[in-house]
Every structure is written in structure tokens, then in C-alpha cells.
């Protein structure tokens, strides 16, 4: 498979190394001449000293026959432009962007980037999983960010404690579908009664998140997430 990697930082370097080892055809584009030279010493002629957001250079690199373009520079703006040019100007079937500012995720998806990788979000998620706060945990975005997969832990002060799904006034466009109890997942059924310590997995429209929080957790977050 022919893959164009844009950005020769750590991510681009190791990515290219792995892909080469798997036998793929790669071009790695790095715009800084010194960085390009350094990685060329190790990776060879697959490294070109070109700016991947310039249409002309993408064309030279063979973008019109690439199966994947992966933009992994440290700059969100560069990554967006690389993917949009690849997608809309060269019809590349699959584009992947690294996103550093988590607030750019939805925008990038709406603008046609196929796959978003957010290191910030990943670390954030890992940290949040470890903190036993009674908060609504954000697990994933679905349908281009319109829907969210959320987890709520039922605490002793939860308004949902001891109640069945029908007794909970859920906002429209919001579904509770799995409850995790003692490390076992089970579907939420009409007869399910929520207990302390239950983790409820829900799908919600983004704008209903606060209503859902009020029903399952019972209070607004003390610290607004940035």
C-alpha cells in the first residue's frame, strides 16, 4: 500500500519506520531541511524535504495514487490543510490527522478528515478513567461528533439510585443501554434498578449531555472542563 506521511517528528519517524518494516511503499514529507536530512540518514530516500501542505509538492510525492495520507506534524493547521488538499484535490481515499487541540476534533471531522488521532484526548481519557470522581466520562464521539458515548457512575446521591429506566426523565435523543455492575456488562432493561456503584453507558446527543448529567449524577460539574 502506498502511504504518504507528512511530518518528520517523532510520530512521523517511528510511523514510517514501522510501515517500511511491514513492506509498505512510503514517502515521508518534512519541510524543515535539517530535520529532513537527519531522518534521511536513518530512513533513506523515502524522506523528501518538502512542505506537504503545498499542492505542488503533494502532487510530486504522488498524492493522486496514495491510498492513505497521514498528517502527523505538531501543528493542527498544517495537518488539516494536508488532509483537505489530499482529500479534495487528489481524491485520496483515506486521510488521517493528528490533532493536538481536542477542540479541533469535531471541526476536522466535519471538514472531511477520515480519521482523527488526538494524543491529548487519549492521555486525558487515561487520566479520567483513573479518577474515581462521580462525573460523566466522555468515551467517544460518534456520527461526526453529533452523538457521544458517555459513562456515568451512580453514586449514593444520584437521583437515579433505586429507580428503573422508566422513572428517569431522560432527554430526547438519549439512550441508556448498558450497565456495568461488579465488572459485568448487562443491557439496560425495563426492570433494571440502578444501584450505587453501577456504571451506566449512554449514548446522548451532544446538546443533551447536561440534562443527562442532572438525571444520573445530579449536579453540574464543579470544574468546567477546558
Amino acid at each position: 500500500m502506498f502511504v504518504i506521511v507528512v511530518g518528520g517528528g517523532r510520530v512521523g519517524f517511528y510511523l514510517t519506520k514501522e510501515l517500511l518494516a511491514e513492506g509498505h511503499e512510503i514517502v515521508l514529507m518534512e519541510k524543515d531541511p535539517r530535520s529532513a536530512e537527519q531522518i534521511r540518514d536513518e530512513l533513506g530516500a523515502v524522506v523528501v524535504n518538502r512542505d506537504g501542505s503545498e499542492g505542488m509538492h503533494l502532487a510530486e510525492a504522488g498524492a493522486n495514487r496514495a491510498a492513505i495520507v497521514a498528517a502527523v506534524t505538531g501543528d493542527d493547521a498544517d495537518n488539516l490543510v494536508v488532509c483537505q488538499m489530499a482529500k479534495h484535490h487528489f481524491d485520496v481515499p483515506r486521510t488521517i490527522a493528528r490533532v493536538n487541540n481536542p477542540r479541533n476534533e469535531i471541526l476536522f471531522r466535519n471538514l472531511g478528515v477520515d480519521e482523527i488521532i488526538s494524543p491529548t484526548r487519549m492521555v486525558l481519557a487515561a487520566i479520567e478513567q483513573d479518577i474515581p470522581v462521580h462525573e460523566l466520562l466522555h468515551l467517544a464521539n460518534l456520527e461526526g461528533g453529533e452523538l457521544e458515548l458517555l459513562e456515568a457512575q451512580i453514586a449514593e446521591d444520584s437521583p437515579a439510585l433505586g429507580r428503573r429506566p422508566a422513572d428517569i426523565d431522560l432527554p430526547d435523543g438519549c439512550t441508556l443501554f448498558v450497565v456495568i455492575r461488579e465488572d459485568r456488562a448487562q443491557s439496560v432493561r425495563p426492570e433494571t434498578i440502578f444501584q450505587e456503584g453501577d456504571k451506566v453507558i449512554a449514548i446522548s446527543r451532544t446538546e443533551c449531555e447536561n440534562d443527562l448529567r442532572m438525571q444520573l449524577i445530579g449536579h453540574v460539574p464543579e470544574i468546567a472542563s477546558a
Partner: protein, 187 residues
């Protein structure tokens, strides 16, 4: 009318100063405070230090409800990201994006962004000065191809003439940087 200008370079600061002078509500953003020295001495708009490609910075700058958004930094890609945030996330009706790479500027015009290209303008201007024929459209804003601008909250792209907002002089603030006589005439 609120106008947000990202990038307080010569064009950004000059335009901001003129618009503020005319009584518009102007917010200029730049990542460097020194850049604000280019603003006219009596500038009574807002100068905010911040990254115009950051959604939360734009929020603070009052992007919600702004009428015009002009992305005029030196980085094509930063302008492209800022302009698309302005249009998609904040639904600003009039968004203009400076893109100096002609190929990128054409590509984004077909993606629904109004773009302005210094490279083509200068080639055209110098060419005309040398007595060569003008390149059609080179001195103007490249108005987005409306057929593919779907999903855009942009009312202006529906107008093929790309008419400026009614409360701006028809001589065209956006076209002003094309020639020096125009921009001086605006004062």
C-alpha cells in the same frame, strides 16, 4: 457591525485602523503584542493577544455574532484553519481568508472559502504596470464556488458577485488591498 481580524500585520492592522475609524466594532488578534504597534495611534477597537486558530480564543474575541471574519496572518494554513472555524463553528456570515499559495487558494475557493491571493495580485499588478494585459480576476477576492459550498452558514457565497455587506462602502473594503490608491481612498 463587528469585524474580527486575525493577524495584525500591515494589511490586518491597516484595515483594522480604517474600519475602527469608520465606527465599526473591530477586534484584532495576534499572537505577538508587538504586532499591535502597527495599529493607528488612536485605534479604539480591541487588540487581543491570542491564537486565532484556537476556538476558545475566538470565543473570547466575540466570534459569536460577528459579521465579518478576516484571516490575514502570514501563514496560509493558519488562515485556513481560522477561517473554517469562523464559518463552521461560529457561523460567521462573511469570512475571507488570505492564501498566498495559488494552488491552495484555488482549492479552497472550490471548498467554499472566499480567498484572497497576494501572489496573483502582485503578478497581475506588476504585469499591468509593464503594459501587459490584466489577468482576469487576479486582483479580486476569489469568491467561493457556491455549488460545493454546501453546509456553509455563509449567506454571501450564495451571491456570485460576492457583494460586500450592505453597511460597507461598495468600493469594497475587501478589495482595497489590491491597489494603494484604493486603500488610501477609503480614509
Amino acid at each position: 457591525m463587528r469585524v474580527i481580524i486575525v493577524g495584525s500585520g500591515r494589511v490586518g492592522a491597516g484595515l483594522a485602523s480604517q474600519l475602527a475609524e469608520e465606527g465599526h466594532e473591530v477586534v484584532v488578534l495576534d499572537i505577538k503584542t508587538e504586532a499591535f504597534r502597527r495599529l493607528a495611534p488612536g485605534f479604539d477597537g480591541q487588540a487581543l493577544r491570542g491564537d486565532g486558530t484556537d476556538e476558545s480564543v475566538l470565543e473570547r474575541a466575540g466570534a459569536q455574532g460577528a459579521e465579518w471574519f478576516l484571516a490575514l496572518t502570514n501563514g496560509d494554513n493558519r488562515n485556513i484553519l481560522a477561517a473554517q472555524l469562523a464559518r463552521q463553528t461560529f457561523g460567521i456570515p462573511h469570512v475571507l481568508c488570505k492564501i498566498n499559495d495559488p494552488m491552495r487558494s484555488d482549492a479552497y475557493a472550490t471548498l467554499g472559502l472566499d480567498t484572497i491571493n497576494r501572489t496573483e495580485m502582485m503578478i497581475d499588478g506588476i504585469g499591468r504596470h509593464m503594459g501587459r494585459p490584466a489577468v482576469p480576476g487576479a486582483a479580486d477576492v476569489n469568491v467561493a464556488d457556491t455549488a460545493v459550498a454546501a453546509g456553509s452558514a455563509d449567506a454571501q457565497t450564495a451571491d456570485p458577485a460576492g457583494a460586500p455587506a450592505p453597511d460597507l462602502p461598495a468600493s469594497g473594503v475587501v478589495a482595497a488591498p489590491a491597489t494603494t490608491t484604493d486603500s488610501n481612498g477609503g480614509r
